[in-house]
Symmetry: C2
Subunit: 406 residues, 2 copies
């Protein structure tokens, strides 16, 4: 760790995190908020609840960064070490914090101030010294999130004005490599190669981050990237795909229903994870067994016997059967082989058939998704959400154009 | 970072990880595997694709730990720096790696060996020197996972025998604080206070990690913890709750169906995320609208009008209606208020009613879950899985005993 003024470092503590039992969610949250403020994050360090390592990490990072944001170790369980370790690492005594009505005060490193915790009992700690500061927050994610605005308010003055202007374009349907190739080529064509480009990918959903020194350059770069990516860009905000699709359904006054086999409810869960989804989600059927496809969706048994459950005729029948049995305007069906077993030579693991049906007809296509079971499911969900999005942009004819067969 | 022989450090690279756009999954995976091998993980460090910081981090960690496992920066996109940075940090030149059929060889730090990548194109790098080693792996999670066995095989000899014996007990239905209180009290009663206890929590699912110096002490400690936690312990393996419940369904020869309102498909998705779920999942209905509850599950409209959609009579009718309309032996229904809106004085956000129906009757209970929308959904899914687990242990009468009303 070297001294880099003007950067923040995130320090996450918790033995459960270095044994791999639990994944840290606070580091990415804090990194996102700091980045939005234009504060560069030098790194995220995760250490166990080990007194010696924690003391060393706090001391080193506090000297090396303008701001250290810590998470963990302030709560009620016995392996919480943060308060005494913090005082030792900062070289100050541990003193009693402010009185709490009736209960014993939480201790604080001398010179530290409590940060109010609106969602829990243990307050955080703010410790500033010589133009640097450290914020210690609890490990419970919703407590930490509720306390963030106070930390941001206190941290901003340490960093002067941010000098980078940033834009985000979220895309769906292209690979990470293809997105990067298109954006870099477009920036070069427009003499904008100095603009910083970052690409980050979830399966089938790729974010493009642009950063430039002036708002004008950023606007030119964003326009160039937009042109290169076309309607693969689904938003320029932080909104996830399911929310963008949900908002589009609400604006169109349309309701959706889902018929799922291999995704097993994950598509419906993605729609309904968004607050307010009852405005546009009518219902879902998880027709995991063939009997369910026949009974709940009206798929003819003969169709399954002739073509197999993973086939375009069955996907069409699932979507059309559900549309007829629901109050939805759009029905989406997904049937496929998520693996790891069940694949055949003709229909390998990752073969997923999707159908979308609406007043103007039915679109059906077979996709081949790479990856293990969770990934095939996630990619199928992303693709299905994108089908609904594209349908709302251009109807079934538009889908036929966007996804030609073969 | 201080020199600690006998420990591993994990180094994750990727700019998208320090801007919070993507959460690292490789660090927890690697930490879990190393911990299972008895290799203590000193920390997980995440840094951006910044040449200077990466060089410094690699150099520092390679001197401080017996093993450094890196992820990221070996792939095809332009911001991958790992190969040249690795050579510079290790103080050796970059040389051409082994020939690849026709294509240009990947470069390697001199003295390094490629690690085969069965799931992708870019091989990893193994670099050993003076009893220490560094393994560089791609950032793509499934490639990294496929390459892990080779890294483990090479790493084991560096660490001699592990000296801690470890056990895991996974529980459901108790708070983190209550689990820890019970386990510590039991260990003290049995003069086992020297046994290391770690507790890590997901909503409603708490893992207890025990570590002791001898297998005998560990066995005594595990027995004491087991006694203190009773049938809240759902497994002593790594299996997630959905898999344990699925295995129990398969053993019992029973099939399950789900009727979901507020969880919106997440319960069904949890069941079907497990490979082989088609053995015991019959179907699911996401009855998000009231019309869907009436039409797809046969809930009487008058029941919804009288009691509201979130009520015990409606939850019972959802479960019983689905059981009658499916080939399942057990039907579970969930209806509730996930928030952030829709709460009332009588039924605040987090009110979730669950019903389970089977041949021996129907169990129904109202639960109150804390937290935001994703958390209420996740807790409801966990609780519903646990209801099925407990039903298989003791039937509906057992559920009535385990969850008395009020």
């Amino acid at each position: 760790m070297h001294a880099t003024p003007g950067v923040a470092h995130i320090l996450i503590t918790g033995s459960e995190l270095v044994t791999g039992r639990v994944s840290d969610v606070n580091g990415p949250f804090l990194a996102g908020r700091l980045s939005e403020m234009g504060i560069p994050v030098a790194g995220i360090t995760v250490v166990g609840d080990d007194r010696e390592r924690l003391t060393l990490a706090i001391g080193t990072l506090f000297r090396a960064a303008t701001l250290v944001v810590m998470s963990g170790g302030l709560g009620p369980t016995g392996d919480d070490l943060t308060r005494p370790v913090l005082a030792a690492a900062l070289g100050v005594p541990l003193v009693a914090g402010p009185e709490r009505d009736g209960r014993p005060p939480y201790p604080l490193p001398q010179g530290g101030e409590p940060i109010a915790n609106p969602k829990g009992s243990a307050p955080g700690i703010w410790f500033a010294q010589g133009g640097r500061a450290l914020a210690a927050l609890p490990g419970v994610p919703w407590e930490l999130r509720a306390m963030w605005p106070e930390v941001a308010r206190r941290a901003a003055p340490l960093f002067g004005g941010a000098t980078r202007h940033r834009a985000l374009l979220r895309t769906v349907g292209l690979t990470e490599r293809e997105v990067e190739r298109r954006v870099r080529a477009a920036l070069e064509r427009h003499d904008l190669a100095a603009v910083e480009v970052g690409v980050s990918a979830k399966p089938l959903a790729v974010d493009v981050h642009l950063a430039a020194a002036s708002p004008d350059t950023l606007a030119l770069a964003a326009a160039a990237a937009r042109g290169a990516l076309g309607d693969h860009v689904f938003t320029e905000t932080d909104a996830p795909l399911a929310q963008v699709v949900g908002d589009a359904l609400r604006r169109a006054g349309k309701r959706v229903a889902t018929a799922e086999s291999c995704t097993g409810g994950a598509l419906s869960a993605a729609f309904t994870a968004i607050a307010g989804a009852s405005d546009y989600v009518d219902r879902g059927v998880v027709s995991y067994s063939n009997a369910a496809k026949v009974e709940a969706l009206g798929v003819p048994e003969a169709l399954i016997a002739t073509h197999g459950a993973v086939s375009e005729p069955v996907a069409r029948a699932m979507a059309e059967g559900l549309l007829a049995r629901s109050h939805a305007d759009i029905a989406v069906a997904v049937t496929g082989i998520a693996g790891p077993t069940g694949g055949t030579g003709q229909k390998p693991v990752g073969t997923v058939v999707m159908a979308l049906t609406a007043a103007d007809g039915t679109f059906c296509r077979t996709f081949h998704h790479m990856g293990d079971r969770p990934r095939v499911i996630q990619r199928s969900v992303t693709r299905a959400l994108d089908l609904v999005r594209r349908h709302l942009l251009g109807g079934v004819a538009g889908l036929e154009r966007d996804f030609p067969p073969g």
